[in-house]
């Protein structure tokens, strides 16, 4: 028996059986109650093979306490009595997660279908029976350790998705047509060399026309629409010469076919459409994926809030459905989900997201609180203020609208090129036609054929692919590094950046307190304090726990809201908490009185102080140095107090910093920098950064940022590191280089081919070869970006 026990102890894993995170030696097999529950549920359902099926290197399953969801208004009921619910799922790592969720749901009575989409991270649930089962079914998934969030109202009817599907259909049709016409064209071309009879050739041309004309009408729509919109607005874009080239080429080829002419450009016209549609589709897909990933992050960040109904019963609802005047409960450690006024309770709030200030702000009834603040010490009741003008959010939106107008003037490089290129090409074609008719005395039909050849040869196939091809590769590379690029022109704007402005709290720092190492404190003190702290979800307690590493919680600990933790031991009462709670009167705090602190008092011993600070991200100093090495000037703009900002700036090596700056002040500083001719990248995360983010030339924010900051940022980066900012600039600069190379190549190619076309030496064969080879060169050049540093 003892041998068996010994064996068991040895075999006890040093990692949690469910999530794989390290646990205390000799302790439980699980790191937390959430994991233990999930393991028990999986075991109970007979799905143990999940652990064998999942990827060994899959990230840990999240075990955060599940938040209740308000699902009642999300359930759709079909005519056949089957209810349908769509939800976002977070924490999916591989196919095993999909299998686990689907298999667990299939074991529930009444479930018709539970299907997880691993790509879009969505769960579609269909079941018979009461609609109220929604909560229970969602609970199954939550107990497995996955987080769920509600879908937005738009659901499947997203216009961007519909446009993408249309492009894919157009691409498929164009591909089919291009290949079949090419098959016919190859025989026509070889027929030219071997003396094919005119009847056979015309037959081939008629067949080509039969395929090409409907294809052009169907697949050209995206281009025709855009060209028409541009012309109506009095401008021109890349789609104008494309539409004109394709239409003219098809028209003149039909004319040739009717008149039994030797040359038809059906293959060129359709191939052009096919290549362009490939570029368009890839571009839209890359952007669509980044956008949906960003939306996914936002939806998960929107935690439901607890509303106290008139009957005194608490309901959990989505923040958007809370009505002004309602009373909301905010527990200690919870994030405030709405703007409002405190009606009951007194607590400390971490307002760093809103103001940039790291020191907790005491609040009492009557104080205004804003969404994003974290309630630190004791529960609060908040009356939701009327939305609209006068709220902080409305003020931010007003500032943002004012500052965004500057950015709207930015014109993408490709459009600038198109603006100059289009008139030149059209003049050339017209000149060629006139020169042949009046100069060389040619009949108007052959002259028009030559002019059309000029248009086809100069049709900006490579030019139109030059930018999207690079953009697709660049955004793919950034996405692998955890950076989501939301705006189409962000890369171009990023490439020109020479100044980077950082916000402090939550951007350069992690935005959560970390224990400051102190030589006067022994490791034993820390380990003991951590056994108490593990019983609490207070941010400072959790920081203590993180600093001490995995361990056992002490039993019998009482939490006194707003004061601290208490434990009765044989020697007397041990306390961990605020200065007054621990009875510390005047202690030496080592010179800084501003930091967050906890005290540990034990009977018969001197109290021990634990000081906390919002630590800088691990690679913040390296990133700042890396930016300087890339020739960027780094500035720090913070709403926090001067001494904190100065200290951080000194440690990270940032020479220029400003403290106590309000949102309008940040915008003003950015305007100042731009007036100096600098191109500014703003990196920020808070509500107070949102106007500055839209005022800068280009902006980025961490995935932990507030809704409004993420919405106004051009790029969102995930993870605890700041290195993605460097990656963003590097990739953008590499992409800028490749785009310029591509444009240069396309122009060079046109420079060589146009004289040939103007002289009438270009046949459909030559046009097809020139067009496809230039497109392939441009694509291949773009692919270089995916392989390491360009």
């Amino acid at each position: 028996m003892s041998a068996l026990l010994l064996h068991d102890a040895e075999a006890a894993p040093a990692t949690c059986k469910h999530c794989g995170q390290p646990v205390a030696a000799g302790g439980d097999a699980f790191c937390c109650a959430g994991c233990s529950g999930a393991y028990a549920l999986i075991h109970e359902l007979g799905l143990d093979s999940y652990y064998a099926r999942r990827d060994a290197d899959a990230g840990p399953v999240t075990s955060e306490a599940a938040l209740a969801l308000d699902l009642t208004d999300q359930v759709e009921t079909g005519e056949d009595g089957v209810h349908c619910l769509r939800l976002r799922v977070d924490g999916l790592t591989c196919g095993a997660c999909v299998w686990l969720i689907e298999a667990a749901l299939a074991r529930r009575p009444g479930v018709v279908e539970g299907r997880v989409n691993l790509t879009s991270r969505r769960l579609t649930l269909r079941w018979r029976g009461p609609a109220e089962a929604a909560g229970a079914l969602a609970g199954v998934v939550q107990r497995l350790g996955y987080r769920l969030a509600q879908m937005d109202a738009t659901g499947d009817k997203d216009p961007a998705r519909a446009a993408e599907k249309e492009l894919l259909l157009c691409m498929a049709v164009a591909g089919f047509a291009a290949m079949n016409i090419m098959l016919l064209s190859v025989s026509v071309w070889s027929g030219h060399a071997q003396g094919m009879g005119w009847a056979t050739r015309d037959f081939m041309h008629w067949l080509s026309a039969l395929i090409a004309l409907p294809t052009v009408a169907y697949c050209g729509r995206p281009f025709f629409r855009s060209a028409r919109a541009a012309l109506r607005a009095g401008g021109t874009n890349m789609d104008v010469p494309i539409s004109l080239g394709v239409t003219l080429a098809s028209g003149i080829s039909l004319w040739e076919t009717v008149n039994s002419g030797p040359h038809a450009y059906f293959d060129g016209a359709v191939m052009l459409l096919f290549f362009l549609l490939i570029g368009r589709y890839l571009d839209s897909r890359a952007r669509g994926r980044a956008r949906s990933a960003a939306e996914h992050l936002l939806a998960l960040g929107r935690a439901p809030v607890t509303v106290l109904g008139e009957d005194g019963v608490a309901h959990v609802v989505a923040p958007a459905s809370v009505k002004p005047g309602a009373t909301v409960l905010v527990a200690a450690g919870e994030r405030v989900g709405i703007d409002g006024t405190v009606t009951n309770g007194a607590s400390d709030l971490d307002a760093s997201v809103v103001t940039g200030e790291t020191r907790p702000q005491p609040v009492a009834p009557g104080a205004a609180v804003f969404a994003g603040m974290v309630n630190l010490t004791s529960p609060l009741r908040i009356a939701v203020t009327a939305s609209g003008q006068g709220t902080l959010l409305a003020e931010m939106v007003r500032l943002m609208e004012a500052s965004e107008q500057g950015r709207a003037r930015f014109v993408a490089l490709a459009d600038r090129v198109a603006r100059r290129y289009t008139p030149v090409v059209h003049t050339l074609a017209l000149g060629t036609f006139l020169a042949w008719v009046f100069g060389a005395g040619l009949a108007w039909q052959p002259a028009l054929l030559i002019a059309v050849a000029v248009l086809i040869i100069t049709c900006p196939c490579a030019l139109a692919l030059a930018v999207p091809a690079v953009q697709v590769v660049a955004s793919g590379r950034l996405m692998q590094g955890g950076v989501l690029l939301k705006s189409a022109t962000a890369l171009e704007r990023l490439a020109a950046v020479d100044t980077v402005v950082f916000d402090k709290t939550g951007t350069l720092t992690l935005g959560r307190p970390e224990l400051i190492p102190d030589a006067r404190r022994s490791a034993e003190d820390l380990a003991f304090a951590a056994t108490l702290a593990r019983n609490s979800r207070h941010p400072l307690s959790r920081a203590l726990d993180r600093a001490a590493g995995p361990g056992m919680p002490a039993a019998g600990v009482r939490e006194l809201p707003g004061r601290g933790l208490e434990l009765d031991t044989a020697e007397g009462t041990v306390r961990l908490g605020s200065r007054s709670f621990c009875g510390v009167v005047d202690a030496d705090t080592g010179g800084d009185s501003t930091a967050l602190e906890l005290w540990l008092s034990r009977p018969g011993r001197a109290p021990v102080r634990f000081a906390f600070a919002d630590a800088a991200r691990r690679d913040a100093a390296e990133t700042v140095a890396g930016l300087a090495a890339r020739g960027c000037r780094v500035e720090l703009l913070s709403g926090d107090r001067a001494e904190v900002v100065e200290d951080l700036a000194r440690r990270l090596g940032i020479a220029v910093w400003r403290a106590g700056v309000d949102p309008a002040g940040k915008c003003a500083r950015l305007a100042e920098l731009r007036a100096e001719g600098r191109r500014v990248l703003m990196v920020g995360d808070g509500l107070n950064d949102a106007p500055a983010l839209s005022a800068a030339d280009v902006s980025a924010s961490p995935a932990t940022a507030t809704d409004i900051a993420q919405t106004s940022a051009d790029a969102v980066f995930q993870g605890d590191r700041l290195a993605p900012v460097l990656e963003l600039i590097d990739t953008a600069r590499g992409a800028g280089r490749l785009v310029r190379q591509n444009l240069l190549f396309s122009l060079l190619y046109n420079l060589c081919a146009v004289p040939l076309a103007m002289l009438g030496h270009v046949t459909p064969l030559l046009a097809a070869v020139a067009m496809s080879s230039s497109s392939l060169v441009v694509m291949a050049n773009a692919l270089r970006l995916s392989r390491g540093r360009p």
């Binding site: 999909v98 879009s120 037959f203």
Partner: protein, 56 residues
């Protein structure tokens, strides 16, 4: 050369068939979850998966 008169229509018909197949698969949602489908079959053995998705 007369063989072309029926060979080319046959070729076009087969091509159209493939195109129709692609359209069908796109409408049917076969491309909705490329990552999931890639791993789904690995787990599709002894234990039955939930009922197949109802046709939409």
């Amino acid at each position: 050369m007369t063989s072309l008169l029926f060979l080319i229509p046959i070729a076009l018909f087969l091509g159209l068939l493939a195109l129709a197949g692609f359209f069908w698969s796109l409408r049917n949602g076969q491309y909705e979850d490329m990552d999931g489908s890639a791993t789904r079959f690995l787990h599709d053995d002894d234990r039955p998966l939930p009922a197949a998705p109802s046709a939409r």
